[in-house]
Symmetry: D2
Subunit: 470 residues, 4 copies
């Protein structure tokens, strides 16, 4: 056996299936050996007492994305910096097509944003807001061929919503080109209807964001998306599922044999509708405004049930950061007049792994191997990065996180590396914390210190998802 650039010694290697005491040998940025004992190695890392896991893949983050008049708190630099500090090695943000724009051009714009700035590897999902004949007939198939093999569509938001006819056309197109469709399931008309009703009643505090999009609105859109997928015979991924009602729709579809997949996020097992009350129904509730909104503890249990029984394949952050105390963030002037103008989204790329580890593994709801599957392996498989990313085995990129399963931390804004000025998880005590992150063999973060550099991360041209095969 040839020499290694780096050997990680003495750790416990965890994959989606197995947990074994083993050394890991790395050469040229790839894992080349997993063995009981490896000697040699230009660099040797002592992983005694630590878990050696595939780096987190966060397949749902928003970076540098325009959002009405608000400005996202993270571009590629701070966003991926935050990601690696949190134990991640790949993110898949979105390249949003503004209405009227070319899809290809939009992708190019995001590449320009990302180029030279990323601390970790990245791919792009597309967001299709304008499914014209040329988009569906030419641009999308070509982009899929070029490695943008998944895209998201929205059933709400003024600038993004597709109507049912458009959804059907887009689904049909996805089927033709083997792309995986991600769907944001909330019903636009219902939300508008409720929003106006609440505003007319003077109910404009951030808390009413939740009332404007109750779970039945998410459930209805979920059922609708599933039905469209059934009609067009195309697999779909329902993203950021928030509670029992949409979860049960997905489960029902899975039992029927439909290829419907599900994603959930930390906010749906750690935040509640009550958080949006802030202090005495004030604007600080805006810190928790995201869509779908956090529900409550009974729904946390439903989400765990879905995780435990395999309804959900991925656990992502839906990192969508805005500054709180900012004219372009949560406290923008219009946002103070109504929840409707509070930008939707919360930061979370850095806290995803610790929250799932602590509430999931440490509290006994999932196994270590499920943790790896939910945070890394399944993302790689779902989005066409496997077998390059997503496991600790020969041939995979040496994207690793060394994890201390016993380390206790309290989540604080001061610990984090994102561009937002707050974290919605402030004060949350967790057990388990990333102590080192390696990207293709290079140590890019250690004990909260960033050792990597902008540009370390590169673009990932993704294969078609095996979940989207005909």
């Amino acid at each position: 056996m040839s020499e290694f650039d780096t050997v990680i010694r003495g750790g416990t290697v965890v994959t989606a299936a197995d947990t074994v005491r083993a050394d890991v040998g790395i050469r040229d940025g790839r894992i080349v050996a997993v063995a009981q004992t490896l000697t040699g190695g230009s660099r040797q890392i002592d992983a005694s007492g630590l878990l050696v896991m595939p780096g987190g893949i966060d397949s749902h983050v928003h970076l540098a994305q325009p959002s009405g008049e608000a400005v996202m708190a993270d571009g590629f630099e701070s966003g991926t910096r935050s990601a690696i500090a949190g134990g991640n090695t790949t993110v898949i943000p979105f390249a949003l097509q503004p209405r009227g724009a070319s899809l290809r051009q939009s992708v190019m714009d995001y590449h320009r944003e990302a180029e030279g700035r990323a601390y970790c590897d990245y791919g792009f999902h597309l967001i299709i807001s304008d499914p014209t004949a040329s988009v569906l007939g030419q641009e999308l198939p070509a982009l899929v061929e070029d490695g943008y093999t998944s895209f998201k569509v929205f059933m709400t938001y003024d600038d993004l919503v597709l109507n049912d006819r458009e959804l059907l056309e887009v689904f049909d197109c996805a089927r033709g080109c083997g792309a995986l469709v991600m769907v944001h399931c909330e019903g636009y008309d219902a939300i508008r209807f409720m929003t106006e009703k609440l505003e007319r009643a003077g109910r404009t505090a951030p808390f009413f964001h939740g009332a404007s999009r109750p779970q039945s609105v998410e459930r209805e859109a979920t059922h609708r998306a599933i039905s469209h997928a059934e009609l067009t015979d195309v697999p779909i991924m329902i993203v950021h599922v928030s509670g029992r009602e949409p979860m049960e729709q997905i489960r029902w579809a899975q039992h029927k044999g439909l290829r419907v997949y599900g994603e959930t996020c930390p906010q749906y097992v750690a935040l509640t509708e009550e958080d949006m009350k802030g202090l005495n129904m004030d604007e600080s509730g805006g810190k928790y405004v995201c869509s779908p909104p956090p529900r409550g503890p009974a729904d946390w249990e439903a989400i765990w049930e879905g995780i435990r029984t395999g309804v959900f394949q991925t656990f992502s952050s839906d990192h969508c950061p805005f500054r709180y105390a900012s004219e372009t963030g949560k406290l923008n002037p219009k946002g103070r007049t109504s929840f409707r103008w509070v930008p939707n989204g919360i930061p979370g790329v850095e806290t995803r792994l610790p929250i799932l580890f602590s509430k999931g593994v440490v509290e006994g709801r999932i196994t270590l191997n499920q943790f790896v599957a939910l945070t890394s392996t399944n993302h790689a498989r779902m989005y066409g990065l496997y077998p390059r990313k997503g496991s600790v085995a020969p041939g995979f990129d040496a994207d690793l996180v060394l994890w201390d399963p016993n380390r206790r931390e309290t989540i604080r804004q001061s610990l984090l590396h994102h561009g937002a000025d707050y974290t919605p998880y402030e004060g949350l005590a967790v057990t388990g914390w990333p102590v080192m992150t390696l990207l293709r063999g290079k140590v890019v973060a250690e004990e909260g210190r960033i050792l990597g550099a902008p540009g370390d991360g590169g673009f990932l041209r993704r294969e078609r998802s095996p979940y989207a095969l005909p």
Copy 2:
């Protein structure tokens, strides 16, 4: 006890609850006594061996209604003539608001059509196709006050479809004025999508009408309507439910405690998708084209399950007659080019009762009392005609059908009195047949002979539905 105009002797009186040997005394068009033995009576009718039941109420018929370029085969005269021959004494057709028109004006137009022509009593449901602010703010509440206490909305059809926002506004308005909303649940966009796809593939025979609106399309719209009703906290009636999938949605809603009601029709227990094949996929399949389309025998069983376990409250005809061999009917020139232009609808007001009696009561699926509930009492209750209509008891209008439970007939076009030139049930053998119909004490039909006259029937101003109470 005072004298009777008419006494019906020796029959077996059936209500939604009871089956008793009793005489029925009528005075001034009303039932005044139900007793073991009644003497006197200007006219005496021998009902020995017959069932004496409340006249059928058909709460879902279309008469004199424009339908694109097609012409409905029945106006009020032939439609109500057919109704009474089939054992009915009340029908509730629709007063359709064309887009851009005043709702009140539309109602007046239908009154003009009906005035002096009806053989049986009638009310009107409204059809709201254009829910403008003035319609919802003024016209609709005023019409509800005037006795038009229910209305139908459509989730499909070019000229009628409401979008989700409109549905929500209309539901909300119904809640405010205590009207009962009937919903035609099929998804417009999905149907258009499928239709164009089928047409592009050259699949234009009437048979493909079914393929253009599969059950998942009806199920999705049903779920959507239920969700909108949940959001606005308003009861709804899902009409013409065709199979297992939408039935299960309604049942699920009922189990959740939502006030969601259901109607089904003869075509969903007696016709199948295969019927639309005609002879070798020819245009005669158009005779069976209606919406939702007939499904198949497995769905018949699901519909019976829903009837048996109380998912459905009413069994209506959805009589919507077109001539087959007519340029303005099924065989219109465009209709020959694609199923899309074949007018949707089949005649059935005259055959509803025999089909349910034969397949339901005689074949042991429902009791006699359920038959009365499904064909009369529940319609009266659901649509605000109770306790004037819908039972055989003192105080009720003497609207009665005398029914021979043992009479065997084979349904033939030659037996029927509608304006259509065919019946989709041609050749269907049934047991049980109406032998006499009384409208407010007057014998209007007997053994297939029409004894009543146009104008015998009058307009029914209806109370608000108790099912729609807040």
Copy 3:
């Protein structure tokens, strides 16, 4: 029309289907006319402002039945006196076969108990505790032929429990002779196991009666009984269903198309497990000890859901009275040592109707007509007394209750006429109260006063249940 013995004037007649303003004419103990206005009548009763309903039929009461070393607080005299005071006109108690005894002889014994003592009419269900070949081969079929057309079997209790093989044989026999099987569904072995475990842990207070037979034990037995019924293709009635879990089993069976029926009782919508705590876990909790035990408010809602959606056909009292402060009642010497020896059962025949009326009709959960169905009509139908009992229509026995829907009362032991020395509903405020009870035309109770006499009531030979037809 001939003359009447009695005319009830000015009331509102309520049947399972209809609510009408009508007079009721009675002759020779039977209803002979229901009419808008009836003149004449030897006796005239003013029912203005009152509901005229069929007398309550309580198809689940225990009278004069041995129960280990405890003595039942009601024989036929006090039990039926209490029944008529509560608006009932028929009860169906049980004739219990002691092990080793002849079924016929047991029936004769109960006849002797009842003869000349009953204030209302009565039939007998059998209880089969010893299904020998001669019982199943000869006695049971003969007794069914003689009008004892239903019987109960037990899945628990030392002296009564049948094992699965016996249950199957009994079910199979019922199928052959057209009897309706009532099943007490609680698992014997599980209860014994839990009881001994609790006793070993010193948990002997009455409260632990509930813990010894949790809902999963009832659910399991319910599933088992349903499966045995499925295997032998015989309809069964699951009696005294206490909560969501068994309710959902019955609903599941009904949806499968099995003929499984359900009964529930006042204790399952008005008492809770907490009641068994008494005062500080003392022996007064024994007042609420019955089987299955009361559950809690969430289960009340499940029971209402089952009532509303038709899972349950009958609402009975399961009147099974023991004195509290008595050596032969709840406070028997052994009962003080462990819940296991506290006799199971509570009085309720007199309070059944007011509790259902108040919580059901007045609080808006059911209609007046459902009240009549649940308290009278469905019992008559289910147990072969229809059309002699169970409605207000010509030909029926003049068994009537005149009901004041607006009368407010607070249930107190001092108001009641049973033999027990307490009521578990002490202090419960209700709206709606029986003001007069007529048995076959005779006023037997009025405003709490007993006007009838022992022996007024007679034995009812019952027809086979239409629900048990092959």
Copy 4:
């Protein structure tokens, strides 16, 4: 890196999570390295074009077990020979306690049977047929401590059936000592009842074995076992699940959050009830008699649904072989008189893997990784053999099967190595076949030739199941 005894080169390593091109280095019977390229090795095995998977673990086989008057066709020698030829490296047969016997003594008896005869490693599940106080209080806990950490109980069979009380005591004991309970769920009384009924009707052909234990009987027992497990708060494994009805019970329990696990077998996706008809209802149908009996194609789909959605964790053979043409096998003299005497069970240890691979992986129902999980990893985890057995990773025993995914074979008795004289899968064409089996680094089978020797396999003292932790 040190030297290897054996290196497997050029294959594709498959674990429950990953599929990677890698070499595998073995030393001292253990896997010590998985790497892109491994040099050295005393022996080198070319695995080009082959899958390198963990050897099959068959956690449900019966060897040398008495079965009434029938004699099992396989002892440890032929049974394990058949196992390794089929790609397995571990089996877990049962050590049956005859009633009245000591559990420890029974285990010793089986050890004597196995000692020096096994071609592969083996553990023992216990079978508890006589749960006396000393068995539950002393023998069982001691045996669990000694590595017999799971046991099976039966809800049917004359010599094995436990009643509910016994089941509860045994479950409770399992909870106390951390053993995993496997339950054979079929209802004894129901089977006896049906058997006698069928025999009285002269329905004695092997085909009626199926009719004597329909799916409702299995479903009922499954529900009962789950309820007992719920009451005692103990995890259970429901073995050999045959169809939709029991599968749905397990799923329901899992959704409730109960720790209920499921196993299914090849016969439930490859055989049907019809097979038991033999040739014209003759005795050759006995070749397919096993319990639960094979169901039909609709149930195959339900089983796949359960496999796909994670209801089942393990796929075992339930190898329970009898000779067909033998006085001590299927054609024993009594067996010819009634299905009741046909010994229950079929051979299958050698065909399990090819059937699941072909119908599962090749036909697209499961992934390669699911195949490994279902045939090896999950068995190891479930029964306390992990991380010694069940994966291909450093530290695991070098128990491997080299698999040709493209090899087409037709299953024939002549290919097999078991002691039975037939296979129920005769003529079944499959794709995918084991070409080499290694037990702790030694090649024990290759291309159908047995290279190992009796005694190669050793006893496995098992850890407690992590699934059975409190």
